[in-house]
């Protein structure tokens, strides 16, 4: 799995060949370590999604004999925890806020409001009636 997030940090901190050894700050474009974890989980679940759904289909049915279902149970536990899509957290894409997300835009309400006021969101207008 090619993740540039954690591996690069480890590489710079621990390998003595890179000139930033022990001191180089690792810079990311993500706002938060929580955001980075979320990104990792999304990538992992995207990678294992197909196989996982197929094994899950074997589990979630009444048709197949129970022995096969038990086998499928054991197999699905072999996946890493981060491969489960249930662990994905819908955070704000800009501020990494966990709550108050406007889902369609993937933003927190504060950022959403800011951009809407500056006319950056298509079709969004200040509500006014009466």
């Amino acid at each position: 799995m090619n993740l540039n997030i954690s591996n690069l940090g480890k590489f710079i901190w621990k390998s003595q060949t890179v000139p930033g050894f022990g001191f180089q700050q690792v810079r990311n474009k993500w706002a938060n370590w929580l955001m980075i974890r979320d990104v990792k989980r999304r990538r992992m679940s995207a990678e294992h999604f197909l196989e996982r759904t197929r094994i899950n289909a074997l589990r979630k049915n009444n048709v197949l004999p129970p022995e096969i279902r038990e086998l499928a149970d054991k197999e699905i536990n072999k996946f890493e925890l981060n491969a489960t899509p249930m662990r994905i957290n819908n955070r704000c894409v800009i501020t990494s806020r966990p709550r108050g997300i406007v889902k369609e835009w993937r933003m927190s309400r504060i950022v959403w409001r800011h951009l809407a006021d500056y006319n950056k969101l298509s079709g969004v207008q200040r509500a006014m009636w009466g």
């Binding site: 196989e51 197929r54 289909a57 048709v63 197949l64 004999p65 096969i68 086998l71």
Partner: protein
């Protein structure tokens, strides 16, 4: 007048002594300032000459450190053999003196009489003349012989440029092979001896030199592929040649090439043009893929038919993806053949498909 000034000074002094506060400025300072410019004007001319003379004396004095010590401590420029211009005739003083003495003896013998006296007189006159600074070059050269000793014994034949390059490259190769921290004293001693002057530009023989062998295919690393290196090389070239977009039009061009820009009229299947060639029957009638491996009756068949129904209703998968989906199940079941046979679900003969009740 002066007495008044003195009194004032004394009063100031007394006041300073009595007062508790320290004086704001030192009373001596203005006096000192008044003295200095006057002194400089008087002694200006004298001190400069004195300084120059002192410097000259220093130069004339012998150095405190010996030559070898100096060379050890400080890095001196390596001695290079100086080029000798063919126009100027080199004159060696020793030879001059020898010739002069010879000539003097010959003359004295020819004249006769007191050989030694005549010799001494002649030598004194001639040598005295040489020591004089007013003599012209022609006077000096009259009795002198041209020293052509250098031409007789040629220094090692001057190396051509090609040879020099070869020597340097070989040295570079040997240097990289040698361990980094080997004692370098020996090499430093060798270095000044090896350095030679460049070939002169008068005559360059292009065809006489040895070839460098750069363009021959070398056996080292021949045929091996450095994938990452090549990729990075390509990346570097691309970065070097491609300029960032100068205006918004160029940005849009780059985006369309990357596929980020929606093309008008908006087509929801913008990236998936090949799928339009696939007939819809391939999406719906997938049961044909179950033939050959799937048992005709039993829970597995039931399961697989459900899978096919689900896939046929899927508008988002490509036909190939649906096929892969079914094949994955085929491989999965074939890997679990032992367990399935124990249960009695997986019989290869399609007719005998006795299965357990499905609950």
């Amino acid at each position: 007048m002066l007495s008044r000034l003195r009194i004032r000074r004394d009063i100031k002094f007394f006041v300073r002594c009595l007062s508790d506060k320290p004086p704001e400025h030192d009373a001596k300072m203005p006096e000192v300032k008044a003295k200095d410019p006057k002194d400089e004007k008087k002694d200006g001319a004298e001190s400069s000459t004195e300084k120059i003379q002192a410097l000259l004396k220093l130069m004339m004095a012998e150095p405190q450190i010996s030559d070898s010590e100096y060379r050890e401590r400080f890095t001196t420029a390596p001695e290079r053999p100086k080029k000798q211009k063919p126009d100027v005739i080199e004159v060696k003083m020793e030879k001059i003196e020898e010739n002069i003495t010879k000539a003097a003896t010959e003359v004295a013998q020819a004249i006769g009489g007191n050989v030694k006296q005549t010799e001494a007189e002649l030598l004194s006159r001639v040598l005295g003349k040489i020591n004089q600074t007013t003599t012209t070059l022609s006077d000096l050269i009259v009795g002198m012989k041209v020293d052509r000793s250098r031409d007789a014994e040629e220094t090692a034949p001057r190396e051509t440029r090609g040879q020099q390059v070869k020597r340097l490259t070989e040295k570079a190769r040997t240097v990289t092979q040698r361990p980094r921290y080997s004692p370098r004293q020996q090499t430093e001693e060798q270095m000044p001896k090896q350095r030679k002057s460049l070939a002169q530009a008068n005559t360059i023989d292009i065809f006489s030199g040895e070839p460098l062998g750069i363009f021959k295919p070398q056996q080292v690393n021949y045929g091996t592929k450095l994938d990452v290196w090549e990729q990075l090389n390509q990346r570097e070239l691309m970065l070097a040649t491609s300029q960032p977009p100068a205006n918004y039009f160029q940005k849009m061009i780059v985006w369309t090439e990357q596929g980020k820009v929606w093309k008008f009229p908006i087509d929801n299947e913008q990236g998936m043009e090949e799928e339009q060639n696939v007939h819809f029957s391939e999406h719906i009638f997938i049961d044909s893929h179950l033939e050959g491996w799937c048992p005709t009756k039993g829970p597995i068949r039931h399961f697989m038919e459900l899978v096919c129904v689900g896939l046929s209703k899927n508008a988002f998968y490509t036909a190939k993806e649906k096929f892969d989906h079914i094949m994955w199940y085929k491989e999965y079941f074939e890997s679990k053949q032992d367990v399935l046979k124990e249960i009695g679900v997986w019989e290869l003969k399609p007719t005998s498909g006795t299965s357990e009740a499905t609950t």
